[in-house]
């Protein structure tokens, strides 16, 4: 069949003249396809003039892209979500075509906000889509985009245009076509869909459709943001019954802002592990309109094992563009104490709506020293506004716990302190947030003072007292900023703990980049791994850096011990004892393959045992630590010697030979001779270590522990 036949068949109603025109266009397209086939010959020169024109186009696009990004950021920072919506809608009404083009051209920058993306796509799509319609191609054609992301977007559009049944049917249909993970994705999509729909009319409704009128429209006065997140949480909760218990559903396809990405990365990595360890069933969702992440956790069950209380956490990442993003603005347990609902809950009702209703007697416990103490907020007796959660007083505590009717609901723990009851969720975020904030201010000060102090010797020792940080972090942080200056994203591969990860996220923000964490042995669909793959696919510049293991970071031991001593009297007694120097030297020599946890566990045991050096060996042996009496002095590892020298540094910046030799288990003469063999006459000659990268901004030397695995692609 020739071309006119095809045109006649495909466009039967078009005139002959129109078909001729279309035929010419098709012929032109055919010639273009052919010309591409003949493009491979290098003999045909490329025009320099055309290259210059192309350069100008690239420059113009970059400028425009930047301006749109700034505009979006400004809007999101300045306007509350609904104002932003109105603004977008207003612009759309005045010039939909322009806005749609803008959206299409700048989809990458606009993707930083689900709000923008969805709204603009609605505008772009035009009219009200219906279930009978297939998703428009612009939802799917984007390269590198997951298919289910497009499905979710389409479902959201159907929802927002008032067709929730269509959305659900469409999702069901799509889920049936998904070869893998269909049930999981379907459940998740359904949860999001069911969550999104009732809320679309929420601000106007004075009464919640779920029968909790006092929650509707309540604002987070503490954070200054009037978002009725409580109500949203309840709506989410109502959708939970559609989600398979225990399924890890995490959906963060939306905003890509640096801090948000890092934060989500953190959440996505840590929550599953923590909750899975506790056997919790839970779900997380993101509010598509406000950007508030909502995380719901079941932690309380009745005697029949049915959940009777819902722990809801909200997280607004868009309003906190700086390190304050770690401050959980809307993070609070929303437990409504009401005797009427308590009665419902106690009756063992199992509907989804009732699960969120806790019984009376909500109480808050705090970790004080070594014990848990009940400190207040008993909803059965006081008159606090339920909408205000537990109030600022509790939120600012480092450690807290929530208990309902004698059953633990959750506890927060910055240091992963022992949970005094089984079934509680060790929660790290609150205290970590505070810690990150205090760390930031401290780092700020130190960085500001750095120039002044450079001339007076090493200044890293000041960081000893920083929780979670080793002495050289600031130096490492500087390298991080240098690396981030060369690439969009930095991937750290290694066993990076949650607190350090939090701090790295902050460091990434400061450097206007994103720091992702990769496990040493990637498995499954981990966000960091997926992000790396996507970045490479997108051709973005990335850098993968090896994070040193704990065994190579002996410099942290002393700081960690001091940190723990502040919260544990027995450890404090041990650290303050005259025997501490000897004990620390022994501890320093061991290879802590188990990481910080192993070190801490051993330290606590030693603090309780309080024995002599001979007994310490037995204690460590019982704990499974391979005993290292002294570091072999023949052909010693230069890195280990260097670490000992650094660990012995004083505030004046000079290393102490006797202290260093004690750490190694040598005498001073042995150390002196080894230093001569290594031709190290002063501390300035020490090779760069994991925390001491050498000259400012220098890239890691070949063979060092900081191995740059790849740059660019």
């Amino acid at each position: 069949m020739n071309e006119p036949d095809w045109l006649q068949r495909f466009l039967p109603e078009s005139s002959e003249q129109a078909q001729e025109h279309i035929g010419r266009v098709l012929h032109g397209m055919r010639l273009l396809a052919l010309s591409a086939q003949h493009n491979r010959s290098p003999e045909v020169p490329l025009s320099w003039n055309r290259a210059q024109a192309e350069m100008q186009r690239i420059e113009a696009a970059a400028l425009e892209d930047d301006s749109v990004r700034r505009l979006a950021a400004d809007l999101q920072a300045l306007l509350p979500p609904w104002s932003c919506l109105r603004w977008v809608d207003g612009v759309a009404a005045s010039g939909a075509g322009t806005l749609a083009d803008l959206c299409r051209r700048h989809r990458r920058s606009l993707r930083t906000s689900r709000l923008w993306r969805w709204r603009l796509r609605l505008v772009h799509g035009g009219g009200l889509p219906r279930r009978s319609q297939a998703p428009p191609p612009w939802l799917e054609w984007e390269e590198g985009r997951e298919r289910w992301e497009a499905q979710l977007d389409w479902a959201a559009i159907l929802l927002q245009t008032g067709d929730p049944d269509g959305a659900r049917q469409w999702l069901d249909l799509q889920a049936g076509q998904e070869p893998d993970g269909a049930a999981c994705r379907r459940n998740h999509l359904l949860a999001v869909a069911r969550f999104a729909y009732p809320f679309s009319a929420w601000p106007a409704a004075q009464e919640s459709p779920w029968g909790l009128p006092e929650l509707a429209g309540s604002g987070c006065t503490a954070s200054g943001i009037a978002t009725p997140d409580i109500g949203r949480g309840l709506v989410i909760e109502a959708a939970i019954d559609q989600v398979r218990p225990g399924v890890w559903n995490w959906q963060w396809s939306g905003p890509g802002a640096a801090h948000g990405g890092a934060l989500r990365e953190r959440l996505a990595l840590e929550l599953p592990a923590v909750l899975a360890a506790q056997g919790q069933r839970w779900i997380s969702c993101e509010d598509p309109e406000s950007g508030i992440a909502l995380i719901c956790i079941w932690a309380l069950r009745n005697r029949e094992g049915e959940p009777i209380a819902l722990h809801l956490w909200g997280w607004n990442h868009r309003y906190v563009p700086s390190s304050a993003s770690f401050e959980p603005l809307a993070l609070r347990a929303r437990l409504v104490a009401d005797s009427r609902r308590a009665a419902v809950a106690e009756s063992g009702a199992d509907s989804a709506r009732e699960w969120c209703i806790p019984p009376a007697g909500v109480s808050v416990w705090r970790w004080q020293g070594s014990t848990w103490k009940r400190v207040g907020y008993d909803s059965s007796v006081d008159g606090q506004d339920p909408a205000d959660g537990f109030g600022e007083g509790v939120r600012t505590e480092t450690l807290h716990a929530v208990q309902i009717s004698g059953v633990p609901l959750a506890c927060g723990s910055g240091q992963l302190a022992p949970v005094p009851w089984a079934g509680a969720v060790p929660w790290v975020f609150w205290s970590t947030a505070r810690r990150a904030r205090s760390t930031e201010s401290r780092l700020r000060r130190l960085l500001a003072e750095r120039e002044l102090r450079q001339s007076s010797g090493p200044w890293c020792e000041d960081l000893w007292s920083l929780p979670l940080l080793s002495t050289g972090f600031v130096g490492w942080f500087e390298r991080l900023t240098v690396m981030l200056g060369d690439c969009d994203d930095l991937f750290l591969r290694g066993d990076v703990g949650p607190d350090l990860r939090c701090l790295l996220a902050w460091a990434g923000e400061r450097a206007a980049g994103v720091v992702w964490c990769l496990p040493r042995q990637p498995h499954g669909e981990e966000p960091g791994v997926l992000a790396l793959e996507r970045r490479i696919r997108e051709g973005r510049s990335v850098r993968v850096v090896e994070w040193p293991g704990f065994v190579d970071r002996r410099a942290e031991l002393a700081g960690l011990a001091r940190q723990w001593a502040t919260g544990d009297p027995q450890i404090k007694e041990l650290v303050d004892s005259p025997a501490w120097d000897g004990l620390f030297a022994i501890l320093w020599r061991q290879a802590w393959q188990g990481g910080v946890a192993e070190f801490r566990s051993c330290l606590r045991t030693l603090a309780v045992e309080q024995g002599d050096p001979g007994a310490w060996a037995n204690v460590l042996a019982c704990r499974g630590v391979a005993w290292v009496d002294r570091v072999p002095s023949r052909n010693p590892d230069p890195d280990l010697v260097a670490q000992a020298l650094r660990s012995s540094r004083t505030h004046a910046g000079r290393w102490n030979k006797s202290a260093a030799s004690r750490l190694l288990g040598w005498d001073s003469d042995t150390l002196g001779s080894r230093l001569k063999e290594l031709a190290w006459s002063s501390d300035r000659d020490l090779p760069p270590g994991v925390w001491h990268p050498g000259p400012r901004g220098a890239l890691p030397p070949a063979g060092s522990d900081h191995v740059t695995l790849g740059t660019g692609v």
Partner: protein, 178 residues
């Protein structure tokens, strides 16, 4: 060092600015970019100006300033393709203008049609490309399957309609006048 020597080793940048590197990369095809473009365009069924694509890719590589290994070249090309597909259609200069003239078409008309084509799904592009551009026999494309042939026709028709509707004012006017 003469230009030929440099061409022999594109990874060695003699400390020039990026435009110097671009000139070097444009001289001949030391990185095999143009052959790669041909392959990619064919595999993805995309209608893009190959010269612009090559230039954009080379500019990206030259600006990176790093040794352009194979992966880097592929990544740069990938990004260049995304950029060009994203880019709003212009006035149809370059190859498109050259092709459109003899056909009594405006360059921008052809560019808009190609732009609309590139935004189709891969399945639509393949069907469109096979049936309407390459004029491959339907039976051959469908592999002898009746259902397949029917499906192919539906997809190609949808693609053609979209190209006609969104492929520029001229085409749309023709379609409306039909």
């Amino acid at each position: 060092m003469d230009m030929e020597t440099k061409r022999a080793d594109p990874g060695e940048h003699p400390g020039r600015d990026w435009q110097g590197r671009l000139r070097m990369l444009m001289s001949g095809d030391p990185l095999g970019v143009r052959a790669l473009i041909t392959r990619e365009l064919r595999q993805r069924c995309l209608l893009l100006d190959p010269e612009r694509l090559a230039l954009r890719c080379l500019i990206r590589l030259a600006r990176d300033g790093e040794r352009p290994g194979e992966l880097r070249v592929r990544a740069a090309l990938e990004q260049a393709i995304v950029d060009l597909v994203d880019e709003a259609p212009g006035q149809g200069a370059g190859v498109l203008g050259d092709l459109a003239g003899p056909l009594q078409l405006a360059g921008h008309e052809l560019e808009k049609a190609c732009h609309a084509f590139n935004r189709l799904t891969l399945e639509q592009r393949q069907a469109f490309h096979g049936l309407l551009l390459q004029r491959t026999a339907l039976e051959r494309l469908a592999g002898g399957s009746l259902d397949g042939a029917q499906r192919l026709c539906e997809v190609a028709r949808a693609a053609l309609q979209r190209v006609v509707e969104h492929g520029g004012t001229g085409s749309a006017e023709w379609a409306r006048s039909a």
